[in-house]
Amino acid sequence: MYTEKVMDHFSNPRNVGEIANANGVGEVGNASCGDIMKIYLKVEGDVIQDVKFKTFGCGAAIATSSMVTELAIGKTIDEALVLTNQAVAEALDGLPPAKMHCSNLAADALHEAIKDYREKHPA
């Protein structure tokens, strides 16, 4: 049911972990939905220098988390804010229809982390 890219990102997820001195952290999801995604950011001069994630969730949740970190790294905050869950799914060559909802929130988690960064570092 999953594409090869999903399976790749799921079985070898990129950027798993925490950033000790993260300056932006975002979490979305909920245990009752079975998916929680947490994104840690290291932003320097508006550019995302490092990003890591921790995810509780299904294969799609882990793969989208991994993919969003790859897509975000090196981007400016404004560029990263334009990333959608849909774009993440597409970068993975698509997700099964049943997984397009709660398992596909990684971009939201990224946005939450950016919001957190902005709140802590008002322009």
Binding site: S11, A31, G34, L105
Partner: protein, 405 residues
């Protein structure tokens, strides 16, 4: 790669003897058993033989066996057919909160038609309170439906006791025996059951065939309307090969029940102990007394890890199991069985079922016990819930699904 199949409660491979018995019925003996001519006659006796084989496993008369397309059909037929046949007597049905969806959804559909359904709760071990069951019976009660064994936990329900209660109150008693048949003795007569349902693909017959025991004299409305097959009790041309396969599978199940399941039980116990001893923060789901569970079933929750991702990592090592996670069932909620047992929501999403069969080996269990701990550890390291200090948001109000772009 190793291929270790520990998902026999989901489905089983067709047994070799079963397939051999079926093969002639696809091409050489392909007739319609309702036909008068040679092609029909060749197969109608095969169906009657299968009927005897099923009857023997269940300890009933062959005339009390009706062939169907699957276990779900049996549950639909038994419950809807009884509701319609007995609606002049009452509109109340008693079942449990841990039934298979084929029972639960059927009962929910009947609720929309004016029936009242009591869904008996279970305790933390997944067990019923028989006093509560008896107390739920009213003069309006027309049916009690309790599964013989639960597909997720393996819990075995006290069917004889429930049969006695049903008999005492003259209420009809249906049991979904899909998971019990072939794994533990299922004697419908001794247990005072009026209707029992089995499904071929859980016992080494192919998918797409099932049977129902309908006690002689039990009035029931048709579910599948049409032709006169099965003495007017189930329309549709007989699935001859499937029925022949089901018959042989029942014969083998009866013959090998004791030896197979003593063996399976020992493998399951080894797996159970191994997991509980080597992996921390694992919760057993189901009755702690292993005698009260099917000998082949183990259900545990690996805390902090969602079930589907666990299954996918197991799968990379060739290990096939299943999970009560919502993400594996196409529904939004995790297992209703875990919910009914009061299992914490994260643990429900983490629940994993290993269901063994006589083809499994000791080496396979050793392999699984070896592979599991690092997988569990790796996924825990990936989980934001593991070693977390802040509390986890647990209420569904906060569910972020609505936040999606």
């Amino acid at each position: 790669m190793n291929k270790i199949y520990l998902d026999n409660n989901a489905t089983t491979a067709v047994k070799e003897e079963v397939l051999d018995a079926m093969l002639p019925y696809f091409r050489e003996q392909f007739g319609n058993p309702s036909s008068v001519h040679w092609a029909g006659r060749m197969v109608s006796s095969a169906i009657e033989k299968a009927r005897e084989q099923v009857a023997e496993l269940l300890n009933c008369s062959p005339a009390e066996v009706i062939f169907l397309s699957c276990g779900s059909e049996g549950d639909n037929y038994a419950i809807k057919g009884t509701a319609e046949a007995l609606k002049h007597k009452g509109n109340h049905i008693i079942t449990t909160a841990v039934e298979h969806p084929a029972v639960l959804e059927t009962c929910e559909a009947l609720e929309k038609d004016g029936f009242e359904v009591t869904y008996l709760g279970v305790d933390r071990d997944g067990m019923l309170d028989l006093k509560e069951l008896e107390a739920a019976i009213t003069p309006q009660t027309i049916l009690i439906s309790v599964m013989w064994a639960n597909n997720e936990t393996g819990n075995i329900f006290p069917i004889s006791e429930i049969g006695a209660i049903a008999k005492k109150h003259r209420v009809r008693f249906h049991t979904d025996a899909v998971q019990a048949a072939g794994k533990i003795p299922v004697d419908v007569r001794a247990a005072n059951v009026d209707m029992a349902v089995i499904s071929g693909h859980k016992i080494g017959a192919p998918k797409g065939v099932g049977a129902m025991y309908l006690k002689r004299g039990t009035k029931i409305n048709r579910f599948m309307h049409g032709g006169h097959q099965e003495r007017n009790r189930r329309a549709g041309t007989h699935n001859v090969a499937g029925i022949v396969g089901l018959g042989v599978a029942c014969e083998l199940a009866l013959r090998d029940l004791d030896s197979n399941y003593a063996y399976v039980r020992q493998l399951r116990d080894k797996l159970e102990q191994g997991i509980l001893e080597t992996i921390p923060e694992v919760k057993l789901n189901g009755h702690p007394d292993a005698d009260l569970r099917l000998p082949n079933t183990l259900n545990v929750s690996f805390n902090y890890i969602e079930g589907e991702s666990l299954l996918l990592f197991f799968d990379m090592k060739g290990i096939a199991a299943s999970s009560g996670s919502a993400c594996t069932s196409g529904s939004l909620e995790p297992s209703h069985v875990m919910g009914a047992m009061g299992v914490d929501i994260v643990l429900a999403h983490s629940s994993t079922r290993f269901s063994l069969g006589p083809d499994n080996t000791e080496e396979e269990i050793d392999y699984v016990l070896n592979e599991l701990p690092p997988i569990v550890q790796r996924l825990r390291e990936m989980s934001p819930l593991y070693n977390r200090e802040e509390p986890t948001p647990l209420s569904c109000d906060e569910c972020r699904m609505v936040h999606r772009a």
